[in-house]
């Protein structure tokens, strides 16, 4: 068994993601279990879309599927959390949630934590890539998508 700090960027005990009952985002969470990043893309007009929705906001087609999204991202915005608002984070401060823009997927944005020294300077525009974080102790197990700098 791993202790609360060994494998995860954030301490254990935060809410787990559960695919929505209507199935809308299930393909995303199934893909992360395989360490694949997917996002919605309209089968008709090929527009990328995120967060998940039942129809394409561009052409209004309901034929919206999930496709592999190039994970080469850029930090679009960030914050550094110092005040815990959940009991689980009282020991894991600070931490750095980032909004990552995916230029290879129409500029859609995803959110995760930035790996590395949480007190290091964060640059908007810095290049990042996904880091799949398996929570095998979840019931059921799930995989989060975190982000790390590529160094380029």
């Amino acid at each position: 068994m791993s202790d609360s700090k060994s494998d995860y960027l954030l301490p254990k005990g935060l809410p787990a993601p559960r695919p929505s009952n209507d199935g809308l985002d299930a393909p995303f969470w199934e893909a992360t279990r395989r360490h694949e990043l997917v996002a919605q893309r309209c089968k008709k007009c090929r527009t990328w879309q995120w967060g998940p929705e039942w129809l394409c906001h561009k052409c209004l087609s309901f034929e919206v599927g999930f496709e592999p999204a190039p994970g080469n991202g850029r930090i679009f915005s960030w914050e550094r959390v110092w005040h815990p608002v959940h009991p689980a984070t009282k020991t894991g401060l600070p931490y750095v949630p980032v909004v990552v823009e995916l230029p290879g997927a129409g500029g859609i944005r995803m959110l995760g934590n930035l790996a590395g020294d949480p007190e290091a300077k964060v640059e908007i525009g810095a290049e990042v890539e996904p880091l799949f974080e398996d929570h095998l102790d979840g019931d059921p197990p799930y995989t989060l998508v975190q982000w790390r700098r590529t160094g380029r």
Partner: protein, 392 residues
């Protein structure tokens, strides 16, 4: 003929419960709400039995049918709730009440908000179950749980795209605290804030420090609206609704931080509509009440309402310019959400009325036009302009 609410409806009375720090009210939230409603009627000189409608926002838990029964109202003609949006619904609730009066559905509508966070739940805490679905499944597992954590991304972009400095956020916070010192209702009266105090405060979530964030309080606030002609006979100088707007821009409600324009308070499309309806320009506005969930949102709101530009915001939004009586843009003259009481912004709508009546504790001399904006950065925001009889 252009359809407009301008001049058709007046705010005849305003009132509130005692305002408390979170957890310190002895009365239940519902009782605070009844106290605020009765205080607003008393202020107006209206028999509470004359009330025939209610409007509120943000899923206020104090049921209007129960209130109507408790007050012994002969008839209830109108009850209305603004969808979601948190504090973004404040001015929209006033607009809905006014619309009901203008359309003839009701004759005397009370807008209220009862909110005792010490008794229900704290907005600043992550109140989450062990598993979450929908949009929150993409945020809560990453430790993004509270409003401050959801909105800090926007303030970061504001600073990045437009060079807004932290000292500008500081001026906004200091203006609210300054005005609270002369307001006997203000929770933070007796707790002045200077530059050193702001700078020394701990981070909550960068770029927000402690004083960039609104308070959590117990209390309730209410306003009474009547047809313009009715207001002329009542005991307070009538304050007329000149215009109001609600809504958002293109895909502002896209989830997981995918709203195309991130560094916005969501007022870019609302402000022009508001000014057009009210027949007012930014330079006509004597005093501004701008909802402070977080100071970065206030800076965005003031820019998007045309009081300054991105280029001169750091210079123009100085403490000296933001304080009554003689600043160029007196801001949040009751202390607002930061330092009077977090009544989800309805205390700001009330303060605008007091300014037009000449009854503020930080009065702007001769104020005739006041602007209120509600809930910057939320997916649906709202705003309104009120004016004295001289503006009709």
């Amino acid at each position: 003929m252009t359809r407009s609410i301008r001049g058709q409806v007046a705010i005849a009375g305003v009132g509130e419960s005692t305002y408390y720090k979170r957890g310190q009210a002895k009365e239940p939230e519902y009782v605070l709400t009844l106290q605020a409603i009765l205080a607003a009627c008393r202020d107006a000189g209206i028999d509470p039995r004359e009330v025939d409608g209610f409007a509120s926002f943000s899923n206020d838990q104090n049921d209007p049918a129960r209130i109507a029964a408790a007050l012994g109202l002969p008839e209830l003609h109108f009850a209305n709730m603004v969808f979601g949006g948190g504090g973004g619904g404040g001015s929209a609730a006033v607009a809905n009440a006014a619309s009901a009066i203008a359309a003839g559905y009701a004759n005397c509508v009370v807008v209220y908000r009862g909110l005792a966070q010490g008794q229900t739940y704290r907005f600043g805490q992550g109140n989450y179950p062990a598993a979450v679905s929908g949009g929150m499944a993409f945020m809560a597992p990453y430790g993004v749980l509270s409003p401050a954590q959801m909105f800090a991304f926007r303030a970061t972009r504001l600073m990045h795209e437009h060079g807004i400095e932290r000292t500008t956020q500081r001026a906004v916070a200091m203006a609210s605290y300054h005005h609270a010192q002369s307001n006997p209702r203000a929770v933070m009266r007796g707790r002045p804030l200077d530059e050193a105090g702001y700078d020394a405060a701990r981070w909550i979530v960068e770029p927000f420090g402690l004083f960039d964030c609104c308070m959590e309080n117990d209390g309730a606030a209410a306003m009474v609206l009547v047809p313009a002609e009715r207001a002329r006979d009542l005991q307070q100088p009538p304050v007329y609704l000149l215009g109001a707007a609600q809504g958002s821009g293109y895909r502002d409600g896209a989830s997981i931080q995918n709203h195309p324009d991130m560094a916005t308070s969501s007022f870019k499309t609302l402000a022009p509509r508001l000014y057009e309806m009210a027949g007012v320009k930014p330079s006509d506005v004597d005093v501004v009440q701008s909802y402070e969930n977080f100071t970065g949102g206030v800076v965005m709101s003031l820019i998007e309402h045309g009081f300054c530009s991105y280029e001169n915001a750091n210079e123009f939004l100085s403490f000296e310019n933001l304080i009554a009586p003689h600043g160029k843009l007196p801001l949040n003259t009751s202390g607002g959400n930061l330092a009077e009481c977090y009544m989800h912004g309805l205390e700001l709508n009330i303060e605008a009325v007091r300014q037009i009546r000449g009854q503020s504790t930080s009065q702007v001399p001769g104020a005739e036009i006041a602007l209120v904006n509600s809930g910057p950065m939320v997916p649906m925001a709202s705003n309104m302009i009120v004016g004295a009889a001289s503006t009709l």
